[in-house]
């Protein structure tokens, strides 16, 4: 193991991570002193908190209270490794999801004289660097400082060792998942056919949903103290899980079981070594982003008119829509667009199940029907042109008129967003069971929002299209994205404004409006949406003319 190589690889990984997060490499950011400020600050913060807690502890004179406090702190020490394991897993996996789909960031420089061991170790360590390491340093500093006041230095030392080891365990696990993901997606990446498309689509969807379900389980509204109690008491019953052995070592140490402490500690280290070995083996076998091609299916070439052609779209328009559909079901970086509405629905549903007025929460049900489709229209519209990336020359060099381009992109956004609304509405309606009037009104408004926001976002998406693909597909300039979001929010407010009395009644603030008022409000809202759509659609066509006249990637 060449440690110089490992250090160099870590620094490269950190730099690529910054680039992927969209940070520009400025001279001050490259300053090593400034890079360490965050970690130094975390240590200082941890020491300050430790001093505060220690001073408070020293000031307590009541022996019973002092014993109780000491016991609580010890419980916290025991639970700390499992807590750090959880948050390290979440953060390292989030980081990997963020980097998914960016070939350059995960393609090891295999042609250089670097071993897979060095590469794997660097990846594991680099994955922890950043906020995770800062938080870890703060916790470690606090524990170290507090232990001096408590007179529990040996326990604190073991806890600190456990925390550092458990962070590496989490990162090694993430590295194994990352390689397996590269293997799976890489294998499917080079294949074609309907089976591959659906494998890719549902595989990515399941990964995201599973990850965020775990994330929300741990983060939404859970009581921190309750979690600590669960971890501290629960881990003794599931002692056979190697990830908990470090916590078990601390538990044994606290109960003066020296042999158990040594066994669990050594076992945990052996487990870490085993994970590292597995990661190295997997990396050496599947680590490269583009493994040999695997063919799942090959259909005979039989061109036929697509469904879009039958719906009145011209051949070029239908071709662009078909291509966009494939892009959104095959490109990993575009998978986020499927995930967001699902997440929004999940958040609403999880919030609903926690409210005591579950059946009466009609505002929530209206939001489930309104928000996913509208947010999908906003997002899709803003990136539908920029996602073309460098191959955008196909559109500019082919005889596609601006009107055609806008027509097919607009139709794609509206159809896609309506499908999302439909799917989310079914879930919402089944769970919340809103009144038929509310359901109908919300669905109609959702369609109004989708159509108008699609036009608004498409105009902005064309104007601010960014075809930059390195280090990551940008799709829209940050400025255009921000302006578009604000404009959409304002216009959505204007479109929904006629229904304010209706919303007021749902919240119990106003008397319920008459049925005729609701119909009139919907009509007015529709008229506003139509005006907005027409105006911004024309703007989109004008922007498309400018784009096609000079798009040089």
């Amino acid at each position: 193991m060449n440690w110089h190589h490992v250090l160099k690889l870590i620094s490269v990984d950190i730099k690529s991570g910054r680039l992927i997060r969209g940070q520009r490499l400025r001279r001050y950011r490259e300053s090593r002193v400034l890079q360490y400020v965050m970690y130094g600050g975390s240590c200082l913060l941890g020491i300050a908190v430790g001093l505060l807690v220690g001073t408070v502890y020293s000031g307590v004179t009541d022996p019973e209270m002092k014993t109780g406090l000491l016991l609580n702190v010890k419980v916290l020490f025991i639970a700390a490794p499992t807590l750090v394991l959880t948050y390290s897993l979440i953060f390292t996996m989030m980081r990997q999801i963020q980097r998914a789909g960016i070939t350059a960031s995960i393609q090891p420089p295999y042609w250089l004289p670097i071993t897979w061991g060095e590469h794997t170790l660097a990846a594991i360590v680099a994955n922890l660097i950043g906020v995770q390491l800062a938080a870890l340093l703060a916790i470690v500093s606090t524990i170290g400082t507090v232990s001096i006041f408590l007179g529990e230095t040996p326990l604190a030392a073991l806890t600190i060792f456990a925390l550092l080891a458990v962070a590496l365990l989490a990162s090694a696990t993430t590295e194994i998942f990352r390689i397996l993901q590269v293997r799976l997606t890489g294998a499917v990446y080079k294949t074609s056919g309907k089976a591959a498309i659906w494998v890719r689509f549902f595989g990515s969807l399941l990964l995201f949903i599973a990850f965020y379900a775990v994330y929300f389980f741990f983060t939404s509204g859970a009581n921190f103290v309750a979690i600590i109690d669960v971890f501290a008491s629960g881990q003794t019953t599931v002692w056979f899980i190697p990830y908990l052995w470090l916590g078990m070592a601390l538990f044994s140490f606290m109960n003066s079981r020296v042999v158990d402490t040594a066994l669990f500690s050594l076992g945990a280290l052996a487990f870490l070594g085993a994970l590292f070995t597995v990661a190295v083996k997997l990396n050496s076998r599947f680590g490269l982003y583009e493994p040999p091609a695997i063919r799942i299916s090959r259909e005979a070439y039989a061109p036929r008119p697509s469904i879009w052609s039958r719906l009145g779209f011209s051949l070029p328009e239908a071709a662009i829509m078909r291509k966009d559909f494939r892009a959104f079901t095959r490109r990993r970086e575009l998978m986020y667009f499927f995930v967001l509405p699902i997440l929004i629905t999940m958040i609403f549903v999880m919030s609903l199940t926690r409210t005591p007025y579950f059946e009466a929460s009609s505002v929530f049900s209206a939001l489930i029907l309104l928000v996913p489709g509208a947010s999908m229209a906003l997002m899709l519209g803003s990136v539908i042109i920029g996602q073309e990336g460098a191959p955008v020359w196909h559109l500019s060099s082919s005889p596609v008129a601006a009107e055609s381009l806008v027509k097919c992109k607009f139709a794609f956004i509206v159809i896609f967003s309506c499908a999302v609304t439909l799917a989310c509405s079914i879930v919402g309606i089944l769970i919340v069971r809103p009144s038929p009037t509310l359901m109908l009104a919300a669905l109609i408004e959702s369609i109004f929002l989708i159509i108008s926001l699609s036009a608004v976002s498409l105009g902005a998406g064309i104007k601010g299209a960014s075809f930059v693909e390195v280090p990551r597909p940008r799709m829209i300039s940050p400025r255009a994205g921000l302006i578009n979001t604000i404009t959409c929010a304002l216009l959505a407010g204007v479109i929904l404004a006629p229904l304010i009395p209706y919303a007021g009644a749902m919240l119990g603030l106003l008397d319920p409006p008459s049925q005729s008022y609701t119909s009139l409000a919907l009509a007015v809202s529709g008229a506003i949406a139509a005006i907005v759509t027409y105006g911004f659609y024309r703007i989109a066509v004008k922007n498309a003319e400018d784009l096609l006249a000079e798009v040089d990637t």
């Binding site: 299916s297 061109p303 071709a319 662009i320 078909r322 191959p391 005889p399 006249a549």
Partner: protein, 259 residues
């Protein structure tokens, strides 16, 4: 406003600059119908920009562009419908299979289903891509991507071909097929403008050659005309090129590198 022209492409006083860099410096050019016209020049001399200007991918800062009798400023879509283009680095949609990609580009040019199927199959066979058309483009080698891009430029039977380094990455057999195909198309009146660094290809394939340097056309003509202009009778294109572009000090450069 389509009229019968003997010229396939006519450029008058066309200029284009990117910030401080002059890419094309008031160029006049007349490319005849059915001609294979070569654009030669060192890196950054403006060849690719000139091709983009002809196709209307970039707007000229000054001058007029007329392609197949159509004013580029008036009806760029009509020009694009009759042209086939392969950029220097053809970035394809990597998430499509080769067949899906060709299907997509043929549809962009409104090629009917029957012709599309026949033509694509024909080209796939000729360029030895048959059997690999169901693979994702991301799995293709550089040469296979280049062949796919070339097929997409030919599939709608264009009247004008604008090819930027068309033989880059191709194996000798495929390169020969493309060269013969271009010659065959030229005999049927299809105009080809190609830019290349490979002087042998230009010398062997092109009816006329233009040598570009720093955005200007230093010389235009057949090999004989270029020899006369460079005052190098009996010389090959390399000697003419180096003389005209003032880069004949190569020996000094190599010697300096070896020191």
């Amino acid at each position: 406003m389509t009229t019968v022209f003997k010229s396939a492409v006519k450029l008058k006083e066309v200029a284009k600059r990117y910030a401080d860099v002059v890419a094309v410096d008031y160029v006049d050019l007349d490319v005849r119908k059915g001609e294979i016209f070569g654009l030669l020049g060192p890196n950054g001399s403006g060849k690719s920009t000139l091709l983009k200007l002809i196709l209307g991918l970039v707007k000229p800062d000054a001058g007029f562009v007329n392609v197949l009798g159509i004013e580029a400023a008036e009806n760029p879509v009509a020009i694009k419908a009759q042209a086939g283009y392969v950029p220097e680095v053809p970035r394809l949609y990597e998430f499509l299979t080769g067949m899906e990609y060709l299907d997509f580009t043929a549809d962009l040019y409104n090629v009917g289903i029957t012709e599309k199927k026949a033509r694509i199959s024909e080209y796939l066979k000729a360029l030895e891509l048959e059997g690999r058309e169901g693979d994702m483009i991301s799995a293709y080698s550089l040469g296979m991507k280049q062949k796919t891009a070339l097929i997409s430029a030919f599939v709608h039977r264009p009247q004008l071909l604008l090819l930027d380094e068309p033989l880059s990455g191709l194996d000798p057999r495929s390169a020969k097929i493309i060269k013969d195909l271009l010659r065959e198309l030229a005999s049927k009146g299809v105009t080809t403008i190609l830019s290349t660094h490979i002087l042998e290809i230009a010398q062997a394939m092109c009816d006329r050659i233009a040598i570009m340097y720093e955005g200007r056309l230093l010389a235009i003509g057949s090999m004989e005309e270029l020899r006369a202009k460079a005052r190098l009778p009996g010389s090959n294109l390399e000697e003419i090129f180096l003389t005209l572009t003032g880069t004949s000090d190569i020996r000094d450069v190599v010697e300096a590198l070896m020191e």
